[in-house]
Assembly symmetry: C2
Amino acid sequence: MSSSSQNSSPPAEKNAKAPSRSRGLKRVSALLDGASAVFAEAGYEAATMTQIAARSGASIGSLYQFFPTKEHVAAALHARHLDTLAGMLDLLAGEVRGHSVEAAVDALFARFVAYLEDNPAFLAVSERRSLDPAVKKEARARLRGRIAALLGAVEPPIAEARVASLAAVTLHLIRVAAMLRADDDESVRAPAIAELRTMLKGHLAGQPG
Amino acid sequence: MSSSSQNSSPPAEKNAKAPSRSRGLKRVSALLDGASAVFAEAGYEAATMTQIAARSGASIGSLYQFFPTKEHVAAALHARHLDTLAGMLDLLAGEVRGHSVEAAVDALFARFVAYLEDNPAFLAVSERRSLDPAVKKEARARLRGRIAALLGAVEPPIAEARVASLAAVTLHLIRVAAMLRADDDESVRAPAIAELRTMLKGHLAGQPG
DNA sequence: CCTTTATATGAGGATACCCTCATGTTTTTA
DNA sequence: TAAAAACATGAGGGTATCCTCATATAAAGG
């Protein structure tokens, strides 16, 4: 009932042993970093446990000591990123309180998209087919809630009834913007992103009823 | 140099033998249908050639007779869907010529999103990691071009300079709408899609300069 | 120091997958 | 009808992956 995510159970059945000594803590951290790199480059499914171990400077046995399954690795990484993002959004909500929607959207886009670009492994594990749909839904709901809180703090206020669905749309647009940057090339990318932000701001500032 | 896609070369090197007799034509059709089902359920990477053959009512050997690689299967499926979609958009462009942007967007959303929902294998092969980026870019450009043509035919006309980037945004929003339907649940999905369409229409009808 | 617990290691078992190939069957051609 | 070409089949080779396990080292406790 405290802060971060001690839940977010991996798959189930096989329970990963958490590290207790400081050496173990460092190892899992290194393992997650290595996994991030491999997932980012190869995607979840093509990533291999051997690659992850090598990239982390650990043996395959050490990897399996803490993560009995590739799924467990992805789940841990997912949870770690969600916690970070949630914290970032909480901070941001405080910063933009009382500001205009335009300013809030600009800040939100800038930071969120930057995060997704800097952490491609997050998208990789977020969209893997093996991710439990319930966990996926919960993760989206969590981010949506944070965005709704952020949108609810701008001035002049947005009609309360619209905040929820606007938050949903905003979250998806952010994802699109991130995918845009990865997919298209510069000539079509830049104007498209500008168009996306303009569109969102116009819509959010639009008729409140 | 005529109509459909005799290009769209699979990977390369190994060239698939095209069927010449009618039996062969039926077989490749059945194989692509089976592949569609398997790709839709399992995704490209987890799909196995054995599953595809079984689902198609063919032996593994027959599958490899026409598609020397899983990549070839995906490439063929991709090309087939692109041709179908392009044709659909051409028809639609004719239908909405002279209509309002609102009507055009409604029709476009309805048909395109329905197509993506009815053919989940298309998204699966479109987003597989092994897809050659050049082919991916070309595919997007093709669809974008069709949408631009469609948007260029509405009345009153949209400023010509904006059409290209608006088409890009529209294409991405359609994808988001399709993903929305697959991901979120009903309570958040319906209002979010409505919001997306409203937003796009408002933006497209907005200030022309 | 000695016992106990945590962490480390890499060879290899089990499995699944991609794809080949030798052989058989159907259809076309002459 | 006979020869040729296209298509069909499934056992199995080669390989790669996930994961286990017996064993070894480092750290903590008493």
